[in-house]
């Protein structure tokens, strides 16, 4: 059916995708890798147009144009801090598209005369179910990250039962579809998948959301692979499997970078095992100070370590921070940035942010490299970070972040927190370090306070 040249083009596109993933996994080649992937995608799409006689060509082209515009505008407009939810959104629509394709293929197959091979039906059921899970799960993820809903785990008494029921239901419908391939079963299966996706992601705590995005991404990859099998298209099979496999592996790596197990991430809240903090401002006494006092503390230190976090990104205070650091270094103080791998809301968030402010690469120290040096630090300045320095990760079994490696800010002689309130961070638990006698709080939006701090240091 498909001419040989087209199959060769598909193979070339598949190779492009492999090279893209390879490129993306090393900093130097990442951008080119992404480009190669895009080239492969374009090649694939052009090929399909010339390889077979398509009807509705015009409508198809219009649909592609619409999708392109939405995609480009969305991707261009989004702010750095919102990229994770955008990725979730894109992933979700991909999963949705795969499910729709499988439904259409089912309709095609069932309207024909002959028997549909069993394997094809298994793959179809898989694509519909998992594609729908991926779609709705990603949408909930999006809502959480965009703070359209609470980022905290949502559980209710019947949740585990409801989840189990939905899962069973999905499984049963899949079996039914394989045994008796009729359209309505497929559609109901899709709805079951949507429900299942929602129930899967609801109980996931905000901090674990990126892991879930990555997992759903892998899911979508597998649905695309299954779709490829049904359509008899190797490109979809290879590309989908690539994403499925690398996505699963990546999910595992991300989870272990946050010190979480995958099972715990997904089912921790269901099992009811995690003890969650109050999520509200505590009214225990703390010591706070003004910019002028903090400026003096900084100016008379020999060694300062900056711990940037999510709040720095929100306040867009990175440029002012860099100026402050330059000022301090001009005074002969040794200053480094301690970068926690999951500070912020996506891996590498701080690197991106500080690179934008043109902080020299050498000043960014990875967690493993700097953790031994906190003992020698006179002052640690924690800017809009919280969970990544929360000792509960070491001391409180059952805390949602327990087991995550953290920056040893508590070992420094003085700790300064710049935040707006006593509210907890992403994980929603209190940070004992805030109440430590050696801690000083500098309240206010990070950008404002940072400017004040900067002028205070300058005027010293």
């Amino acid at each position: 059916m498909t001419p040989t040249w087209a199959q060769l083009c598909y193979l070339a596109a598949a190779v492009c995708f492999i090279l893209a993933l390879k490129g993306l996994s090393s900093p130097k080649t990442a951008r080119n890798g992404n480009l190669i992937g895009a080239i492969g995608a374009v090649l694939a799409c052009v090929t399909v147009f010339f390889a077979v006689e398509l009807e509705h060509e015009l409508s198809i082209l219009v649909a592609i144009a619409v999708g392109t515009v939405i995609g480009v505008v969305g991707a261009r407009r989004v702010q750095m801090t919102q990229m994770p939810q955008l990725v979730a959104l894109f992933n979700g629509v991909g999963g949705g598209a795969a499910a729709l394709v499988a439904l259409l293929e089912l309709q095609e197959a069932t309207s024909g005369a002959g028997d549909v091979p069993t394997f094809d039906l298994v793959a179809t059921a898989f694509t519909i179910l998992v594609g729908a899970v991926s779609f709705s799960g990603s949408m909930v993820t999006f809502a959480k990250l965009q703070e359209l809903m609470t980022t905290r785990p949502v559980t209710f008494p019947g949740l585990p039962v409801a989840f189990a029921l939905a899962a069973l239901c999905g499984l049963g419908l899949s079996v039914l579809l394989v045994l008796d391939p009729v359209m309505w079963v497929g559609v109901v299966l899709g709805f079951a998948g949507l429900l299942l996706g929602v129930l899967l992601v609801l109980p996931v705590g905000g901090a674990d959301v990126p892991i879930v995005i990555s997992l759903l991404n892998a899911f979508t990859g597998l649905t695309v692979a299954a779709g490829g099998y049904v359509l008899g298209n190797t490109l979809l099979l290879v590309a989908g499997t690539l994403v499925g496999a690398s996505g699963t592996f990546l999910t595992k790596m991300m989870a272990s970078a946050m010190g979480r197990s995958l099972v715990n991430t997904l089912f921790g809240a269901l099992k009811g095992g995690s003890t969650l903090g109050a999520g509200e401002a505590s009214d225990r006494p703390v010591r706070s100070a003004g910019p002028a006092d903090v400026a003096i503390l900084l100016a008379y230190a020999n060694r300062v370590i900056i711990v940037p976090g999510y709040g720095l990104a929100v306040a867009q205070a990175q440029h002012t921070l860099r100026e402050l650091v330059d000022e301090l270094m001009a005074k002969g103080i040794t200053v480094d940035y301690a970068i926690h791998p999951v500070a912020g809301r996506m891996p590498g968030h701080m690197n991106v942010l500080l690179a934008e402010a043109q902080v020299p690469y050498e000043q960014l120290k990875e967690m493993g490299d700097i953790n031994g040096e906190f003992k020698q630090a006179d002052v640690v300045l924690v800017v809009g970070a919280n969970d990544v320095v929360n000792p509960a990760a070491k001391t409180t079994p059952g805390a949602p972040i327990f087991g995550m490696p953290i920056l040893n800010a508590d070992e420094a002689k003085q700790v300064i927190f710049m935040k707006r309130s006593m509210r907890p961070g992403f994980a929603g638990i209190e940070n004992e370090l805030l109440f430590d006698p050696k801690t000083t709080l500098l309240f206010g939006d990070a950008k404002d306070t940072m400017s004040k701090l900067l002028s205070a240091v300058k005027s010293l």
Binding site: A20, A30, T47, F49, I64, M83, L100, L104, L242, V243
Partner: protein
């Protein structure tokens, strides 16, 4: 060799390629890698085009066009947003260290 086995073989090999090829990624690149992989599965667009181009029922055509729009968003948006992320990473190399 029977068809399903061929596909299984291709599947198994692709699994190995997928895992091995990214096994050395540093944690800084997790997000762009995820995003790039995400864009790649947008290639379901090819499938969406195929089913839409072969259908003759109007209902199916509409569903197919929706699938095409969604898949295109996934693919195009995915590559663009990945590029934007990576642009920031690379930034520090091309710009002056301290401007």
């Amino acid at each position: 060799m029977s068809e399903p086995i061929v596909w299984l073989t291709i599947f198994v090999l692709s699994v190995f390629v997928g895992v091995e090829v990214i096994s050395k990624v540093s944690s800084t690149l997790h997000t762009p890698l995820m995003s790039g992989a995400n864009a790649i599965h947008g290639v379901i667009l090819v499938g969406a085009i195929l089913v839409t181009g072969f259908t003759d029922s109007t209902g199916a055509l509409v569903v197919g066009l929706v699938a095409i729009v969604l898949a295109t968003i996934n693919m195009v948006g995915g590559f663009v947003v990945t590029d934007r992320m990576l642009q920031m990473f690379g930034g520090r190399k091309r710009q002056e260290p301290k401007a």
